[in-house]
Symmetry: C2
Subunit: 107 residues, 2 copies
Amino acid sequence: MGITKTQIFDKRQNELAQLFKILGHPARIAILQHISTQNSCICNDLVEEIGLAQATISQHLKELKSIGLLKGEIEGKSMCYCIDLDRWNELQEFLNSFFNTTKHNCC
Amino acid sequence: MGITKTQIFDKRQNELAQLFKILGHPARIAILQHISTQNSCICNDLVEEIGLAQATISQHLKELKSIGLLKGEIEGKSMCYCIDLDRWNELQEFLNSFFNTTKHNCC
DNA sequence: TCTTATTATCGTAATATTGCGATATATAAA
DNA sequence: TTTATATATCGCAATATTACGATAATAAGA
C-alpha cells in the first residue's frame, strides 16, 4: 500500500490532482512568485533568495516544468526560467472550470 | 531531511501550498465531484462509488474537512458530508488571486 | 586548453502520504 | 437491552516526497 490508485479515477481527475499536487509545495509557490513579481528568473538567484540548496531548487524547477508552467532558456552560462503564460492561463481556466462545475451541493 | 521547511516561507505561501496539496489527490477530487454532481454525500455511498476502503475514504474526508471545504452532519445513523459553499468560493477567489498576481514574467 | 561558474543528476536519509484491516464508537431499530 | 449498521481511529506496511551533499555536465572567459 502507500501507492495512489490512479487507475480507479478518470483522466481528468488524475490531471487535476497532479496539477494541484505540484502547486502544493511552498517552495514551488515561492519560486513562481519570485519569477513573476521579484523579477528573478535565474536559477542561482532563486537559490539565494529562497534559501534551499541548489539541488533542491533544481528539483522543484523540474517539477514545475513537468506540468508546463515553466520553460527554461539558456542565458549565458545561467538558466532563465520563465512562466509559460499561455499554459498559466490554461491551468487557471482548468482549475476554475473544476471549481465552477463542483459548486453545487447535494443537500 | 525529507521535512518541508515551512519556516522559511511566509503564511500566505504555506496556506496556498496546503490548499493545493489537499486538492492534489484524485480520490479527494472524486469525492468533491460525487458530492456535488452525483448527489452523493453519504460517506458509505462514497465508499461504494469510489472503490477505496471505508477507512481510506474516511481519512480523505477528514483532510477535506481540515481546510473547511466539507462540513459533516449527522443524518440518521449516517454522516452527510456537504460542501461549504462559502468556503468553496473563498478558496476559489484565493487561488485566483494567486494566479492573477503571479501572471507576469520577468523577461 | 584550463579554470571558473552554473545547473542537472545521482544517491541517500529523513519524513510524509496512501491504503487497509482491525477495532472502537455511535446511532437506529428490533 | 441487544443487534445491526455506519463512521472514526489506530497501527502498520508500502510507497512517495523532500532535502542535500557529491559529482557530472555545460558554457564562458582567461
